[in-house]
């Protein structure tokens, strides 16, 4: 018995108007998808041209000497040792301050604070703070930390400044992570007789951990590229020494003197070299940019990995 088959379905017994509506909706889908793809292609190719140019020009400049030398007046001897060590230490301080405070604030606002006009007010302000231009934070820090508290132009102050800058990001992402936990999970936890503290530690934080960590790392990867606020508080642009080492030979073997040292960071080093007339310095700047981008990407990579790992773990 031969069956004839046809791929296109006719309207059958449905109304012709319904049939037409589906067809026209499909046409719109197609146009929308094509338009989206086009815009995406332009944006991506622009991005890749920029980064590609930077990488091609910068990468061959990066070698062991470049990473282990101080900046110099002579381009061929200039390196980024003080800059990447500075970036690393400033990030350390930033993370140490912003992550615990931001997570605690987010958890408090979401779980403990009484919901009312006051918590709404705080919520709006925290979200607004996330959008304040970073140089304003620099000014604030200059007035408060450098002059007001007399802390000087140090690694500690830089870390505090960037911590303030990313605090809203950490708070908002913590709140969002907590808010996305299904109510039924919380009710289950309260249902077994857990009190608020136990529910928070044993159920909410584990479930929200991927989101919280991602927020923290996204915040840090924003901080690592910040230049303006650090220039505002007076980061040095030329540093030919390292901060005091955190580990010492004598008791108690750990030192925090580095907190009070002057510093420079990668983006400032880059900025400094770009503004030099010699073209060799421009290439050094590109190389510094490559290091900076690599750092940012790996931070984001870690964030994605954590999210993936924890999600999987959580599901199982």
């Amino acid at each position: 018995m031969a069956l004839t088959t046809k791929g296109n379905l006719g309207p059958g017994r449905t109304e012709q108007s319904a049939f037409d509506a589906v067809h026209s909706a499909k046409r719109k889908d197609l146009w929308f998808a094509a338009g989206g793809l086009f815009v995406l292609a332009i944006a991506m190719s622009l991005l890749f041209t920029l980064i590609g140019d930077l990488i091609i020009r910068g990468t061959q400049y990066i070698d062991y000497d470049f990473m282990t030398s101080y900046p110099s007046r002579l381009p061929e001897r200039a390196g980024i040792l003080s800059a990447w060590v500075g970036s690393l230490l400033v990030m350390l301080v930033t993370a140490f301050l912003a992550v615990p405070v931001g997570i605690a604030a987010g958890l408090y606002l979401e779980e403990y604070a009484r919901k009312g006009w006051f918590s709404d007010f705080i919520e709006i302000n925290v979200s607004n703070l996330a959008g304040v231009p970073s140089i304003i934070y620099g000014l604030l820090a200059l007035g408060m930390f450098v002059y007001g508290m007399g802390l000087g132009q140090t690694i500690l102050v830089a870390g505090m400044t960037l911590a303030l800058l990313i605090l809203p990001i950490v708070i908002v992402s913590t709140r969002e992570a907590v808010r996305s936990i299904p109510q039924i999970v919380k009710e289950g936890a309260y249902g077994i007789g857990a009190d608020q503290w136990q529910v928070m530690w044993n159920y909410i934080i584990p479930a929200a951990r991927p989101g919280i960590m991602t927020g923290a790392i996204v915040g840090l990867s924003r901080a690592i590229g910040e230049t303006a606020p650090l220039i505002t508080i007076g980061a040095l642009t030329f540093i030919a020494f390292l901060p005091s080492p955190p580990v010492t030979g004598e008791f108690p073997f750990i030192s925090f003197a580095w907190l009070h040292d002057g510093f420079t960071v990668l983006p400032i080093q880059m900025f400094n070299w770009v503004s030099r007339p010699q073209p060799e310095f421009h290439i050094a700047a590109a190389a510094t940019g490559v290091v900076l981008i690599a750092l940012t990407f790996s931070l984001n990579g870690i964030a994605i990995w954590i999210r993936y790992r924890l999600r999987k773990q959580h599901r199982n």
Binding site: G188, Y190, G191, A207, N316
Partner: protein, 285 residues
């Protein structure tokens, strides 16, 4: 309707004396003791909506009490009041008394700590909600919350609870495995085990089988009947056959009011209130 309601209420009041003093527990001819009672209980949601209106109802010790009624009549609201679940959301308000016997303590009285209430009254939800942890840790969770640290004590309680919840055979070889790998019916029995592990005085079940297939449902119904020898159960169900099969007492609710309460047989064979009758005969629901 109002006159009928009054008849019903006075009928309960005979079981529940008017005085504030906890009454001595008098075993009835069938050796029924009171485990808890609701007295003039009302509940208001934070938007001011009164979801429960002046309910008087006894909860008998080691019996299954079923709450039935059309969707939206306040069954879940009533059930969730008994372990103070509504306290998780600001603005909700209880009125009246929910007395736990034999101590005569008012669960919703001034100073009654909702966390302590939930330590004493366990709950199983409509949708299975195991924690994203191992099977073992799910059942142990209630004990850990209560500060139990001794491994042997926990091991034993986990096994006992899983056996009581009739899910031991299916899980004993994978206690360290993830709870989310179980089927829906197994997950729900795991949730029952989780609630049973700390030996609650009352176990509340809110439509525990509505998300399950008929076979899993039958298993849970059997389980509830067995458990009623050892624990007081209050179950909300929209399935009248289920209520008729597994409960000793049935409460019929309608728009926030308790219309009729009585022996399950009596409710289903000889309802006193016309509204109960039309509901169980399927005229609305």
């Amino acid at each position: 309707m109002d006159t009928d309601m009054k008849v019903e209420r006075t009928a309960h009041r005979r079981i529940v004396p008017e005085s504030d003093m906890p009454p001595p527990i008098k075993p009835s001819p069938e050796h029924e003791t009171l485990r808890a009672r609701l007295e003039d209980f009302s509940f208001y949601y934070s938007n001011g909506f009164q979801a429960i209106k002046h309910v008087d109802m006894p909860i008998l010790d080691r019996k299954v009490t079923a709450i039935i009624g059309p969707s939206g009549c306040g069954k879940s609201t009533l059930l969730r009041s008994i372990n103070r679940m509504h306290d998780l959301y600001p603005g909700n308000r209880y009125e009246g008394r929910i007395i736990l016997e034999p101590e005569g303590e008012n669960l919703i009285g001034k100073g009654a700590d909702p966390v302590i209430v939930r330590l004493r009254v366990g709950m199983v939800f409509q949708k299975p909600n195991p924690f994203p942890k191992s099977i073992y840790e799910n059942v142990a969770a209630g004990l850990r919350v209560r500060g139990v640290k001794d491994r042997h004590v926990i091991d034993e309680a986990v096994e006992t609870a899983l056996r009581r919840a009739a899910v031991w055979d299916e899980t004993k070889d994978k206690l360290k495995g993830s709870a989310s790998d179980l089927s829906g019916g197994q997950q729900q029995r795991l949730c029952i085990a989780r609630a049973l592990a700390p030996n609650p005085e009352i176990l509340l079940l809110d439509e525990p089988t509505s998300a399950l297939d008929p076979i899993a449902t039958a298993k849970i119904e059997d389980l509830i009947q067995e458990l009623s020898d050892s624990v007081t159960i209050v179950i909300v169900t929209h399935n009248m056959q289920q209520a008729a099969r597994i409960s000793h007492r049935t409460a019929f609710m309608y728009i926030g009011e308790l219309i009729e309460f009585g022996d399950t047989n009596q409710i289903f064979t000889n309802p006193r209130h016309p509204r109960t009758e039309s509901y169980i005969t399927g005229r609305y629901g």
